[in-house]
Amino acid sequence: MKEETNNMNLPEIAGIPIDLYRSMQGRFFAGLAEDLQFGNGTSAWASLTNPVDSGVNLFVWAWAITDVLDTAYRVQIWMNAMMPGIPRISLNVAPTNTAYMPLPVPRVRLEYASMTAGEPVGGVKAFVRRGQPGVSIYSVEDGKFICPPGGSFAIFLSDPETPQIRASGKIFYQWWEEETVGI
């Protein structure tokens, strides 16, 4: 190649994406909530819940809804709301950097509930989506949804349009955690 054909000569740098960087730091986690049942007039949800005493802020990197097969459905994203029903805690959670010793343990909990009655209370309904049967929704948020200790990021599934149909699905999250700045 002749050099004189191109006089561009910018410095080159290698970019480490922020999700890789946070994983290298042992701050990045992924988790799955399965067998979320809703329909028949009920709802289901899965949330990243940041405990009051966690000492970290939650940064939501990405979320996915998969395997809702039988109906179109409503998706509502709620921030910092009280979710209905009795939550269970998913054990299908892991640090994405499994070479980091000791193995990082998330402070944020992946909570979920099925066949709940009623709506979330308080907080903000941040945005909504419509889901089509059999079509996964995968959304990368780049960490821009940030929840403090005591806050949460929840995906709420319902199907009031066809309340005679039962449905189920799965919700997947990726997130990182950063220590809150001291008082």
């Binding site: 290698a14 970019g15 994406p17 950097n97 996964s136």
Partner: protein, 178 residues
């Protein structure tokens, strides 16, 4: 606009390109994984004990060749029960083929067809979704799934309803352990 406030310009090399330039990036796949109803199949990236490298998984694809959906599951650091002996896939290459000698990966792709449907006793299932007939699902993780010597990322084909053929492909890089 005043030029004095313009930030400097850089050409940004994506991390996968940067690793490929160094001969650290590899791609490979497990072809024709088969499973009958009541069985499953899996293929994974295994970082051997003593490899001297850490495994960074960048891309995972799961392909369903046949006419019925199956569940594609991602497992971190799981031990899958027998019977059956996994085989090593020979279908891999460095992504940079301009380097001499060609780099050889330390990480191996192991695969097992017609495997036991029993869940592994250790390890974490961090993802699962149905893979529709005659389709491929692609996950680009930018290397943030990281595994030490002795670690693994396995994709299991599960919930097999009829004779199933799947393909699982990976893109990854390897860095020396410090």
């Amino acid at each position: 606009m005043s030029g004095s406030f313009l930030p400097p310009e850089f050409a940004i090399l994506p991390v996968a390109l940067y690793k490929s330039l160094q001969g650290k990036y590899f791609v490979g796949y497990a072809d024709n994984l088969t499973a009958s109803p009541g069985k499953n199949a899996w293929a994974g990236l295994f970082n051997p004990v003593g490899s001297g490298v850490i495994l960074y998984v960048n891309v995972i694809t799961v392909t369903n060749v046949m006419g019925i959906p199956f569940a594609g599951e991602f497992w971190f650091n799981a031990l899958f029960p027998g019977p059956g002996t996994p085989t090593r896939s020979e279908l891999y290459t460095p992504s940079n083929t301009a380097i001499r000698p060609l780099p050889e990966p330390k990480v191996a792709i192991l695969e097992l067809s017609e495997a036991s449907p029993v869940d592994p006793s250790v390890g974490t299932k961090i993802y699962s979704q149905l893979v529709a007939e005659e389709s491929t699902v692609v996950f680009e993780e930018k290397g943030k799934y990281i595994f030490p010597e002795g670690g693994s990322l396995v994709v299991r084909l599960n919930e097999i309803a009829s004779e199933t053929i799947g393909r699982v492909a990976f893109g990854w890089w390897e860095e020396p352990c410090s």
